[in-house]
Amino acid sequence: MAAGPMKMRATLGQGFTDVRVLMNHPMETGQRKDADGKLVPMHFIQNLTVKVNGRLVVDAQISQAVSRNPVFSFRLKGGAKGDKIEVAWVDNQGESNSTEIAVA
């Protein structure tokens, strides 16, 4: 199954860069039943990273208790127009995705 789309917005604030990233992911807890009554297996993002110009700044471990189609907001120190922000994730089934944006 191909990983769903991701969308990121990075804007300069007062002394920090505001990063908002949305990602498509079912974040299945393993407790939901499908239309046939079968349990949908656990399928959720476990690791999420934020990099600025290639350097790791946020390293997150998350659980299935994060909402479906997760949305995160981070704040990076300082920042300048053109800085490259990359957000990547890996899930418990080995799938991954990433997106990159230049600060506006």
Binding site: R20, L22, N24, P26, R68, N69
Partner: protein, 262 residues
């Protein structure tokens, strides 16, 4: 003594009610700040440009009221009368029209799955999100001057108060008086402009409880289901008239893009 206790309880209940309403409003604002609705807009853009049907063309020449392919402000101008179809149409009805005329698809095929789910949104849902997003920042101004537009709004108004079905319900049964709610959901009185403006600018929306994108055609369908009436046809005169009545009553507010709902 009893009156005093009763009065105290009423005051406490009202105070709690007001605090609850304020906190729920805060919840809605915070959820809206981080809404996945934009992901559906991306998917909708892909579908808008995708050649489909026997004619193998995309929807890019579809006229949503501002001219073929003009998306900016189109959603804010709906529902409206369309000369080529000789009827008033809302967004979804118009999209269906373009699917059948431009792309040569059958109504049956195009409406096979109009309401999707969390795992798989429908075409209509993604397209609605995309097109609605193109009206961000614009004032809602559905068509109100053409003869058929006036008739549509009048029909919607009449239908709003018309009791039907096994329970003898009308829209007004739930949405007719101020201060009513179902559990924690306050029921807006939609024939009042202030409430209608808030509602008209909140659709389509990402619904967090189902992780799906919901549209006005879906809302009409679901309301009728909850009223225990037969299912209305997709894009029927009934559904369009009701949507038209609500959006016309709620005209003038600025649209902020697809909303977020519980």
């Amino acid at each position: 003594m009893r009156t005093a206790v009763l009065a105290a309880t009423l005051v406490a209940a009202t105070a709690y009610g007001q605090d609850a309403a304020k906190e729920i409003q805060r919840y809605r604002e915070m959820v809206a700040e981080g809404s996945p609705a934009e992901l559906f807009e991306l998917e909708g853009e892909t579908l808008w440009k995708k050649p489909q049907g026997p004619k193998n063309v995309s929807l890019e020449q579809c006229d949503l009221g501002k001219g073929p392919g003009v998306l900016k402000g189109a959603y804010a101008g709906l529902p409206r009368y369309f000369k080529d179809a000789d009827r008033v149409m809302d967004l979804e009805t118009r999209l269906l029209y373009c699917m059948t005329t431009l792309q040569g698809r059958t109504r049956e095929e195009a409406t096979k799955r109009v309401f999707g789910n969390a795992d798989h949104p429908s075409e209509m849902e993604s397209l609605s999100a995309y097109i609605a997003g193109q009206s961000r920042g614009m004032k809602m101004a559905p068509g109100v001057s053409h003869r058929k537009e006036k008739q549509s709004i009048e029909l919607g108004s009449a239908l709003y108060f018309h009791r039907v079905g096994a329970w003898d319900f009308s829209c007004a049964t739930c949405h007719g008086d101020e201060g009513k709610r179902i559990r924690m959901q306050e029921l807006p009185v939609l024939y009042k402009p202030e409430a209608a403006r808030a509602v008209a600018t909140s659709w389509p929306a990402y619904r967090v409880s189902t992780s799906s994108l919901v549209t006005l055609q879906w809302r009409m369908n679901d309301c009728f289901r909850q009223m225990r009436t037969p299912e209305p046809n997709f894009g029927s005169e009934t559904t369009v008239a009701l949507i038209h009545f609500i959006t016309a009553t709620g005209a003038g507010a600025t649209y902020a893009g697809p909303g977020t709902k519980r």
